[in-house]
């Protein structure tokens, strides 16, 4: 390990689905790439547990939000590629707005404490 890994943040319950759906928005991808994409985009703050990624993928597939197919990866290997469905997009939009509202509420609630100490 060449550098100290940054302090990791625990994933909140239910956010993994949102992150997976979001990471599939640019295009289809396989499980490993999805995990790495989330990790990289969050600047290594979030690490997706492989142990919960695959059950989540199958759950999303069962819900019809993503669809899977076997394709050849850029390195020529057979891999299971997931892509987001129309239903998944709809779900993503509603989840995202919920999350944004939640984040905003958290921000508002946390601010007055700082003001009070002044």
């Amino acid at each position: 390990m060449r550098h100290k890994p940054p302090a990791r943040v625990e994933l909140l319950r239910g956010t993994l689905d949102l992150l997976v759906l979001r990471s599939l928005l640019p295009g289809p991808n396989h499980g490993h790439a999805i995990a790495k994409h989330i990790q990289r985009t969050s600047e290594d703050l979030l690490k997706v547990e492989t142990g919960s990624l695959y059950p989540a993928l199958y759950r999303l597939e069962a819900n019809g939000w993503i669809a899977a197919s076997w394709e050849t990866s850029d390195k020529g290997k057979r891999a299971r590629y997931y892509r987001i469905t129309a239903l998944g997009r709809k779900q993503l939009v509603s989840e995202q707005s919920k999350w944004e509202a939640f984040a905003r509420a958290m921000g508002l609630l946390l601010k007055p404490v700082e003001e009070g100490t002044r």
Binding site: G31, G51, P55, Y58, A62, S73
Partner: protein, 917 residues
Amino acid sequence: MTSLFRKLSWWLRRRRKEAELREELQFHIEEEAERLQADGLAHDQARWAAHRDLGNMTRLREETRTLWTSAVLDQLAQDVRYAWRTMWSNKMFTALTVLCLALGIGANATIFSFMDAILLRSLPIEDPRSLIVLSWRMPKRPTPDSPTTIRAFRGVMTDEGAGVRALVWPYPAFEMFQAEDAIFTSVFGQHVANGLLVDGGDGGLADGTYVTGEYFRSLGVRMVAGRPLTAEDDRLGAPPAVVLTAAFSHERFGSVDAAIGRSIRLENVAFTVVGVTPPEFFGMDPARSPDVFMPVHTGPLLRAQFAPGSTQEMYRDPHDYWLIVAGRLKPGVSAARAQAVLGQKYEQLLAANTPPEQLQNRPTLTIDQGVGGLDGLRRRYREPLYVLFVMVILILTIACANIASLLTSRAAARRREIAVRLSIGAGRLMVIRQLLTESVMLAIIGGAVGVALAFWGMRLLTQLLANGQEGFTLRAELNWPVMGFTAGISVVTGIVFGLAPAIQATRFSIFPALKGTRATDVEVAPRWRFRPGLSQLLVVAQVALSLVLLVGAALFASTVSNLRSTEVGFNRDGLLLATLQTARARYSDDALKTFYAQLRTRLQQIPGVNDVTLSWSVLAAGGTYVRPVSIPGTGIRRSEINVQVTGESFFKTMQIPILAGRAMTDQEVATRRAVAVVDRRFADEYFPGTNPVGRTIEVEGEGALEIVGVSANARHDALKGDIRPVVYFTYGFDPHPLYQMVYELRTIGDPMTYSSSIRQAVREMNPAVTVAGIRTQTVSVDRSINQEIVFARLSNGFALLALLITCVGLYGTVSYRMVRRTEEIGIRMALGASRASVLRLAFGHVLLLGVSGLVVGVPAALAASRLVERFLWGIQPGDPATMAAMVTTSLLAVCLAGYVPANRASKIDPIRALRAE
């Protein structure tokens, strides 16, 4: 929903799915390893790190798998496997339960298939629900002494309260309804014509229906060949056209297409075949299956031979009721509005044609939604079917109670197994679910076997109901509604009989059961005294229910035997009836009468035949002929009175006593004297206090007749109801050609042995004469009460079935109980109890169960028998003798079923019983 389907399809492909997941995870590890290697780790280290990163792969697979291995399905499959094992290891128990259930479910499916055919299924015509049938009701049944507007009536009059209901109308009324464009989209009429002679007899007899021009168009029947009859065919003077059914055209012409354009003679009128109806079409009455459909206006052509002179009167006479009228209402016209408008029109017709004093008791028009066709069958069988349906439901209830009690007893024996399953962590719900799966599976197997039994039961029942009638067309079949019903009751019964025992089976303390102590120790106190558990209560219920069925069956059986022994006024023993059809022989009127006389002489020469006579109709067979009779000098005019055309030695052969005057002589028959004999009812009613002998009566269509004698009463129509007045005259006198006559032969020994001699005699006299049927008078009477006989037979069968199932249940329950108490009995015997006392103890319990059942059953049976009172004849619903007999029967059966296991218990060897512990 889609996600459920996806899961189901994943579950079905779970092995491939598993392999896919393994491959996907493998790919993940390789990718991760490659990435780490690129970061500078050694090959091996990178692989290990990748594995570590993935974590516990088995657990991961497990977790992912839950997504497609639907827990519900998996558990179900497991439950089914387990249940199958249990059932397989208890073959005897399984076989008994499946048998009980199959009998119960089979009986239900059979009766339901008939309900479906008669009461539920609609007609094979376009939109049967929008059909309406015009009927009328009259406040009182028309009687001879109060004349009404109805002078001639050809149809069925059914009693409805104090009044009557009928479906037939005079033709002028039909024409009037037809003109009501604002009410009807279409109106049509039909009239039954049975027993038509086909091609001078070469084609046998056919049943027909006269129909008006709109008939086929209105019903929306598409011909499979040719064209339907139209209004153009249905007018006086049109070339006679006929439509055949598919079956009849196959029989007569080989195929449906071959029939078109061919000529067919019906009653010596040549018709041209213009169309053929589809095979499923049978008209509007599920009870009939006509072969031919003729225009109503061809009626006079056919009738001309029977009633010369009355040809076209039937289309003009507003007092002649014969045409059944049905139709479809215009959209937006309610039945109530149609009834108001048509009713008013009909009133006008009545007022214009009938003297006001005859309008006191007059028909009122009503509209019936014609969903089930011209409900002949429905009317006749609806109530009996409901009663039968209740009976089979009771049987199924008994079967359920029976199996529930067996399961409860067995659950007690399976306590140990259940305790083990509970103690190693199975939830109580899981065990209940498991036990329920078992019972539902039993029920499904029982249902499957039941369907097979129903197949056979339906054939049997159809045969019983048809009872030799040709052209009986009840189409009971195992169709989707019937199968659905059967599947439904199977699953429901499975849950019903399984739930209570399953709940009870899991409600006990585990530890004693685990320790292997006998089940009796688990109970707080030994149940020597009667504190009934679930299984005992179920046995009591079974005894009570089967008593209800037994009492019902006994009452129906008494009804039949009462009907059979009803006084008919003549001696029916050894009487053989042969029905002859002579139209084919083309005799002139005189020659026909000579033939009848000669044939009678010929038949009299058969050894063993004592007397022979002939008559127009069979006596006491449910049907009779009516003619308007007037009696000069008394003011009685055109009274509807039964008439019977008789031959030589009629009263002697039938053994009907002559009370005054004399019978008609053979000489009078030959010389066509206008003489008559009246029965005692007639004399009492129309000549009260005076001697009718020597008086004259006028029979319409026949002429004036001199009464020469008075006979004792004899029954000419149905067995139920009063004997009605009858006028007898001779066939020699009757001016009509009589193409059908019944010969009555008084024989020695078994009457049926003479049938071949009769056929031979007829053949030798004239081969063109057809013997349409030979049967004994007893069989003929039985046919007229066929419905009651079938009803009695079925209910007897059902009652026996119920009793049998109950006995099996009792036997099983008592046996299990005794097995569980072997050790206790061993101790008792070791302490000096005698065998007899043990037997007394065990048998006392059986008696207690039986008697409790009967105590509950007697009032239930009394109440139930009151509900079926209207099906009874000559016996009261709560008849004490019947009740006592059935209580005794039940008690005997209970004792028999209980004695065997009780006796076995008393033979227990105390040493062995104790050592087994």
